[in-house]
Amino acid sequence: MKCACGGKAVYTRRYSGQIFCKKCFNNYFERKVHDTIRSQKMINRLDRVGIGISGGKDSTVLLSVLSKIAGKLEITLHPILIDEGITGYRLSGINAAEKTCKSLRLNLKMASIKDLAGSTLDELQELGDSKPCTYCGVLRRKLLNKEANEQKLDKLATGHNLDDEAQAIMMNYVAGDINRLHRLKGTATDSDLIKRIKPLNRIPEKEIMLYALLNKLEVASDECPYAGENHRTKIRDFINTLESDQPGVKHKIISGWEKIIETSTPEKKPMHKCKICNHPSSRKICRSCELTEEIKIKRKDATKEVAD
């Protein structure tokens, strides 16, 4: 099988019937990211764009493609890595991210959950009552907002891909959560200080992996020890089964969702300033401060027990 240009085929895009060689695939991929940014009006000229990176394939691909088109878009890139403090997992991601940033001559800024909450994620999940992914998600978001604020960034880009979006949509359908369905659009929620953008949100995960492999990007592939089987992985497998039977289903999930959010309105929650950190929040005390405070108490109790 050959690409239309005569080159050796590396990919069949079943939902459009096209066959690509490496060169044509790279061209298509980079143009697709550029088109997504333009059509969803994600970035303005002269924006300072933060990028949340983990060293995994999605954020590494995002960073390398954005660095290729940053000149054309007239933007600057500011990678940020959040160190959750997960033994046996985070280090390989940090190494990969450092190498990528060095090769692109970008300055990598790191921030850690330990600095924010006083404990690493490993310690938090031992001490606290919530699930590790709850601490991780809430505190990571908080840290990214904080960094974006300190670095005076205009946008914050994340590596969410088409599969992530389709999965989130299906999960929110199941829960009937209209507000979250709206929030997926990535416009700044009132509690974020910065507009979030997802330039890979129209590209399937498989194509992202292919781009990383074809271009030999430095990618960490370790799985987080807390990931495990969950509701999301089941939805993921279900959508992939649909897609292999009927190529194009993932894109249809997205276009169906776009129609639905057009005809519905999200609930407007009154906004407060968190009494502890002063950041905007729909609660009197924001979720991040609530978790951090809870941990402080647990930590005190634990030291007392040891002393007794």
Partner: protein
């Protein structure tokens, strides 16, 4: 025909077997992987030959 999948020997009974047939037989969803045959990334319609070495790389992430 004998091929090697991620280093393990696999006997395929079928005469003509494409990468996608092999994935199906292994119960692997082609949407969730990238396949490498004899060191090169290839389309899943590629016909396999005796002794081919196939690597299946997962494209999906858990975290």
């Amino acid at each position: 025909m004998i091929v090697f999948v991620d280093g393990k020997k696999k006997d395929i009974s079928k005469e003509d077997c494409r990468v996608c047939d092999l994935l199906e037989e292994l119960g692997v969803n082609r949407e969730a992987v990238v396949t490498v045959v004899n060191g090169e990334i290839t389309v899943e319609e590629t016909e396999l030959s005796e002794g081919d070495e196939i690597k299946i790389i997962s494209a999906v992430s858990g975290g």
